[in-house]
């Protein structure tokens, strides 16, 4: 099958723009009428729905930020009532408070359709065995890909994360042809497989990797493809957009952002000016059809560029290139978003250590390794090694709970960590990806 939904995927550009304008207009009127949050935002920005007369007028609309979800925890900016929601997902927020996203049945349908199109565009379909090695549960990755792959008739193997040996055995026994996970986890799998005497290239049927949820490079892609003998496709999304959402096609030249579902802008992070194709800037996304939690001009914080020409695959929708950086200090550790502010917030709950900290990130083998250095407070210092070890364990445990990712903690002497005036640089990222 070439396209899951050819009418949409190959729609002429002009028709797409007309459709986008209609959807935007409807969305803005709906939010102005039904969302107190966005109504106030528009009022403050001096914009009325009537001011939106062309698609380019989207620039008049105010931005939304990750912080808006946190500040309106858990569901204050939802536009749908709870009785209309069919699912929640939850991700960790920037200050220890999680952010909650909700879905109506239509939201789930559009999410699944977006993934169905993407998965078909990279050559998947009936007959494929699709191993979902993203986490299932509150994280959007597992369940999102699960329903997308089922929709196109692939056979889903819902392994979730962890227990890598068993994943490799199942991959062999059930003849997995495609896997969805983070690129670093796939590399880790390759290493574990070799220790088991299994070559993914020669001893399995794996041919496609749907990889995302963390930054990766062309080098990493080349290494994965060459070593494991598969095609590696980039997939992009965040929980605010629904989850993993947009996937590369067989051209492997950026992921298609389905224009009936999302409108993408790339802005100069300094001036806010709209940038053209090929220019690097901050990505801003408007979700055109989301019902429960509409996101308008959402500033995700990712830096990238887009291309607007018709893709070699025949699809008319714009393509966005691999994320090349962040505008803030968010880290992605083993696929999980980590903000230094979460670490700070957590440390404030542990009186035995000071407020100062440094985060050091390395890649050990294929996996990310995060070390947090903290100072032992004078009051808490005890001559007993076991007491100090208990402090360290406690901090590791609390950080793990707050960040949803395992962290190593190192105790250092008071006063030995750098102090910052103005903007703190508390992260040393030594990963080469």
């Amino acid at each position: 099958m070439k396209c899951w939904d050819p009418r949409i995927e190959e729609m002429p550009r002009e028709d797409i723009r007309r459709l986008q304008y209609r959807l935007l207009k409807t969305l803005v009127y709906r939010l102005y009428s039904f969302s107190a949050f966005y109504h106030d935002r528009m009022k403050a920005a001096g914009v009325h729905p009537d001011d939106i007369r062309t698609l380019d007028d989207i620039r008049k609309l105010p931005f939304m930020y990750k912080g808006d979800l946190r500040d309106n925890y858990p569901d204050k900016i939802f536009v749908a009532g709870q009785e209309d929601l069919v699912r929640y997902h939850v991700s960790s927020g920037t200050t220890g408070k999680p952010t909650v996203v909700g879905y109506t049945q239509n939201d789930l349908n559009n999410w699944t359709a977006s993934l169905a199109r993407g998965l078909v565009s990279c050559g998947l379909g009936r007959g494929d065995v699709f191993q979902v090695s993203y986490g299932y549960g509150l994280f959007t990755g597992g369940l999102g890909l699960h329903y997308g792959a089922e929709r196109i008739g692939a056979t889903v193997l819902p392994t979730s994360v962890g227990n890598t040996e068993r994943q490799i055995e199942l991959m062999q026994d059930l003849h997995t042809t495609a896997i969805a996970c983070t690129p670093s986890y796939l590399l880790h799998m390759g290493e574990v497989a070799e220790k088991m005497g299994v070559s993914i290239r020669n001893d399995t049927s794996l041919r496609i990797g749907i990889l995302g949820a963390e930054p990766w490079s062309d080098n990493m892609k080349a290494r994965i493809e060459e070593w494991l003998g598969i095609k590696a496709y980039d997939i992009y999304g965040t929980s605010e957009l629904s989850g993993p959402m947009f996937c590369e096609c067989t051209e492997q030249n950026g992921f298609h952002v389905w224009a009936d579902l999302a409108y993408v802008e790339i802005l100069d992070p300094g001036t806010g000016e709209q940038l053209g194709p090929g220019e690097q800037g901050e990505m801003v996304i408007t979700m055109l059809q989301k019902e429960a939690l509409p996101m308008i001009r959402f500033k995700i914080g990712d830096i990238t560029s887009y291309d607007d020409d018709v893709c070699g695959c025949g699809r008319t929708h714009p393509r966005v290139h691999r994320i090349s950086g962040r505008v803030d200090d968010m880290l992605i550790i083993r696929g999980i978003n980590v903000f230094p502010s979460q670490v700070e917030y957590t440390l404030m709950t542990v009186p035995e250590v000071g407020r100062h900290f440094m985060i050091e990130v390395d890649r050990k083998g294929a996996l990310d390794d995060m070390l947090v250095k903290v100072e032992v407070s004078r009051e808490a210092f005890s001559d007993k090694i076991t007491d100090l070890m208990a402090i360290r364990k406690n901090v590791e445990h609390r950080l793990r709970n707050a960040l949803n990712v395992a962290v190593n903690v190192e105790l250092v002497e008071p006063g030995s960590l750098p102090r910052f005036e103005g903007k703190a640089k508390r992260v040393i990222d030594r990963r080469k990806i």
Binding site: R378, F381, D383, I385, E410, V412, E413, S416
Partner: protein
């Protein structure tokens, strides 16, 4: 209380496990003319605790804290050992029979005899046990 004269104030210093930290501690003590009578290093993953008996513990505490170290006082006792085979056994047996737990210990061999420095879970009980068992405790005034 009579036992008090046997209780010795040891200084414990938190130290990262990296080159130069012990030198920094030793240099600071030298600058203040503080003599180290015995010391040990306990190491854990990435950090350590330097423990020392010094002749001027209060001064050592102030100096090391002043330059940023984490310092604590810990009560220990010092027991004289015969510097012959079985010397350690004699002391350890007394403590074992008295159900006294040794948290850590270090020793040095002096001119007249060997000395065992002990951190125990119950200092009072340990002092009684050693005295009743025929051991010789060193008074803190010998050090400080």
């Amino acid at each position: 209380m009579e036992h008090k004269k046997y209780v010795i104030r040891q200084i414990s210093v938190f130290s990262e496990n990296k080159p130069g930290r012990l030198a920094a501690i030793a240099k600071a003590l030298q600058e203040e003319g503080i003599n180290i009578l015995a010391f040990s290093i306990a190491e854990a993953d990435g950090f350590g605790v330097v423990r020392a008996l010094v002749d001027k513990p209060q001064k050592a505490y102030e100096k090391l804290s002043g330059i940023g170290f984490n310092v604590a006082f810990t009560d220990v006792i010092a027991v004289q050992m015969k510097d012959v085979p079985g010397g350690l056994y004699e002391i350890a047996r007394i403590l074992g029979e008295g159900k006294i737990n040794i948290e850590y210990s270090y020793a040095y061999s002096g001119k007249d005899a060997a000395v065992l420095i002990l951190r125990v879970d119950n200092v009072d009980a340990a002092i009684s046990a050693i005295r009743n068992g025929g051991g010789t405790l060193l008074e803190s005034s010998l050090f400080q």
